[in-house]
């Protein structure tokens, strides 16, 4: 089960084009449903399908307290990261940009830490606002940086973002050491879904709203991806579109990072695979982005839950391995074809 989750996207590499897409995409949908079911059925508390169908009240109760919230949270986190990736890649016209490679996630972390420092005992809602605000500032700083780069498609764009992220993370570490909060920051950063139960994941519904908004505004982002001059002459209010896009990305990554921590590389890998299979139309690709993101994140989470049972490995760790390797594969297979 878990193997198919990680193998499917790897086999569906970007080489064979749409013919492969016609086979791979329906297969992906089937895998997605299977993984969601598996995620609902996996855990320490004994829940069986037969028991649920027979109407065991205790089983249903646990099912809704623990399993459903966790699976929903996974889906929402996957949506948040991959849709942020799609939006950022359109707005920056660079395939390698997403919340990890733009430093957005590190900025959100700085926001959470500042909140811990100056508003001790703040509610999750306040933390989310702080994280979203710093993520917004960070994304603007990043965009300011890369607007000075002439070659928009260059690999230097994600590099600048990664280094910016490293600097911000050094500041965060510095502040955290000073306030004796380093351990809190480290454990928060690797996050994970282990503690997700009813009453804790609800803010992630905001992501669902953002996802719908992304779908509705998809065509604007497609046009914005053609560049400022073309987009403006096609009648798009470029500045407004940029502003809305950045706000949505900041909101999605702010909320997600407070509730479940960082999830690296998801927003980079998923949109790239989908656009290799289907082309660059944002709106028609979005449902498949959602499906693939769900497959990846639920698959990684399942691996983390099964390998060291009854302990868990946070999904960010497994996603870091899978995502970085896939990213490398995309980089190395493209290095001959694309003059970046």
């Amino acid at each position: 089960m878990t193997d198919t989750a990680t193998d499917a996207p790897a086999q569906a590499g970007p080489r064979k084009g749409t013919r492969l897409g016609r086979v791979a995409l329906p297969l992906l949908a089937v895998v997605c449903v299977a993984l969601l079911l598996a995620s609902l059925m996996t855990g320490e508390y004994h829940i069986t399908l037969a028991g649920l169908l027979a109407g065991d009240a205790e089983m249903w109760r646990m099912f809704f307290i623990s399993r459903v919230p966790r699976t929903l949270a996974l889906v929402f986190a996957g949506l948040a990261m991959s849709f942020s990736g799609v939006i950022m890649q359109r707005l920056t016209q660079n395939r390698f940009v997403e919340p990890t490679t733009a430093g957005t996630a590190e900025w959100a972390g700085l926001g959470v830490l500042l909140c811990m420092l100056y508003i001790p005992g703040a509610s999750p809602m306040v933390r989310m606002i702080a994280a979203t605000a710093t993520a917004f500032v960070g994304t603007l700083v990043f965009l300011g940086f890369i607007s000075r780069i002439r070659a928009r498609r260059s690999a230097i764009v994600p590099l600048v973002g990664l280094m910016l992220g490293a600097v911000v993370s050094a500041i965060t570490t510095y502040l955290a050491i000073g306030a004796n909060l380093l351990q809190a920051v480290v454990s928060w950063r690797s996050g994970g879904f282990a503690h997700i139960v009813r009453g804790f994941y609800e803010p992630l519904w905001a992501v669902a709203i953002i996802a719908v908004a992304t779908y509705l505004l998809a065509n604007y982002f497609t046009i914005a991806g053609l560049g400022k001059d073309v987009a403006t002459s096609l009648g798009l209010r470029y500045g407004l579109t940029m502003g809305i896009g950045v706000t949505m990305v900041a909101l999605a990554s702010g909320v997600t990072s407070v509730v479940v921590g960082f999830i690296p590389f998801l927003g980079l890998v998923v949109p790239n695979i989908i656009s290799a299979l289907r082309g660059d139309d944002v709106r028609s690709g979005l449902p498949w982005v959602a499906v693939l993101a769900t497959v990846l994140i639920v698959g990684c989470d399942l691996i983390g839950r099964v390998v060291v049972r009854p302990m868990e490995i946070p999904v960010s760790v497994i996603m870091g391995v899978v995502g970085a390797v896939t990213f490398l594969a995309i980089l190395l297979t493209r290095r001959n074809r694309v003059a970046l």
Binding site: P264, V317, L331, R335
Partner: protein, 342 residues
């Protein structure tokens, strides 16, 4: 070579300075010795006053260990980075930015994962150190040799691939560490990350000897390295076996990185800062000047920084964090200085 277009060494065209490189070296050496002396012999007393302290007690021994570690870390950082810059003909990539020290951590973790706690728990440290370093050297030579022999469209794409490779190593090491039993993990984490202020003392002698050996080898090849600065094709035209030099350099760099990671832990931007400053301040582009200058700058930075932090800000283990911060900003500045090639 594709690398050379983007980052041809600017020092070759640098203007000659009025102050000769020997004078500059002498100034740097004096400063470095002064920093080390002050770090070793001055301490803040109980009354918050900084004064000379000639009691050679336990505290002095601890500082002596840290000072030795500073020397070795500066030596490894300087040599590995300058060597790497020369053989890859660029001045942006460094061994730690592209993840060589993450590779070291990964190899150690895999060792513990496969063999168990005795992989690092071994009392006799010499054969074990040799075995680990050998594994590191093999992997680094194969992996990075392959990466650098490939045809990349741009230096930045190569750099991105290196950075992501480093992230992948770190993530995979973290994944394996989560699978270890708590005792194995403890054994690993003690050996894995050194810190300047808490140096693993039994590694110091062998690390010093290894550094000396590498230093002698590099010093003997300094003229070949000077020729390599011209770029791959001119160097080959002048009779340098480029592939052999690249492989040898990667092997030496792997040794240096394993030593410094084992002693003081990963420092992403340290080598980058001291190498960059050395090119600016050495006053000569030849390795006889840039190599020692980078080493001296490293000593000044670590010893001076440690002294200031320890005695003025009372903030011990912060030095590496500050170096990360300053180094990251310097790195971004260097990237933007090359706007013309972006």
């Amino acid at each position: 070579m594709s690398l050379s277009e983007a980052t041809s060494a600017p020092a070759l065209a640098g203007r000659t300075s009025r102050v000769g490189w020997r004078t500059r070296m002498a100034i740097a050496a004096t400063l470095a010795v002064a920093c080390l002396t002050v770090y070793l012999l001055m301490r803040t007393g109980a009354d918050d006053v900084l004064r000379w302290d000639f009691q050679f007690g336990l505290s002095f021994e601890r500082r002596l260990r840290t000072a030795t570690a500073i020397l070795i870390a500066a030596f490894c950082g300087a040599l590995s980075t300058v060597l790497f810059h020369t053989v890859t003909h660029n001045r942006i990539l460094t061994p730690s930015i592209i993840g060589l020290d993450s590779l070291y951590v990964l190899i150690q973790t895999v060792g513990v994962f496969l063999v168990g706690g005795r992989f690092v728990d071994n009392g006799d440290s010499v054969p074990q150190f040799v075995a680990q370093t050998a594994a590191m050297v093999m992997f680094a030579a194969v992996l990075y040799g392959w990466l650098f022999s490939g045809r990349f469209a741009s230096l930045f794409l190569l750099l991105l691939a290196g950075v992501v490779l480093g992230l992948a190593f770190r993530a995979f090491a973290e994944f394996l560490q989560r699978l270890l039993s708590p005792t194995e993990f403890d054994a690993l984490s003690i050996k894995l990350y050194g810190r300047l202020t808490a140096v693993n003392a039994d590694l110091l002698p062998i690390a010093g000897i290894a550094c000396l050996v590498v230093g002698v080898i590099v010093w003997q090849r300094r003229r070949v390295l000077d020729v390599l600065l011209l770029g791959r094709d001119p160097a080959m035209g002048l009779g340098v076996n480029h592939q052999r030099e690249l492989t040898l350099a990667l092997v030496l760099i792997a040794v240096l990185v394993s030593i410094s990671t084992a002693l003081v832990g990963p420092m992403m931007f340290f080598g980058f800062i001291i190498a960059t400053l050395s090119y600016q301040l050495a006053g000569d582009w030849r390795h006889r000047a840039t190599l020692p200058m980078a080493f001296l700058i490293g000593v000044i930075m670590l010893a001076g920084g440690q002294f200031i932090l320890h005695n003025i800000f009372y903030a011990n283990g912060m030095l590496t964090v500050i170096i990360e911060f300053v180094g990251g900003i310097l790195f971004l500045a260097m990237l933007f200085r090359r706007r013309g090639t972006m």
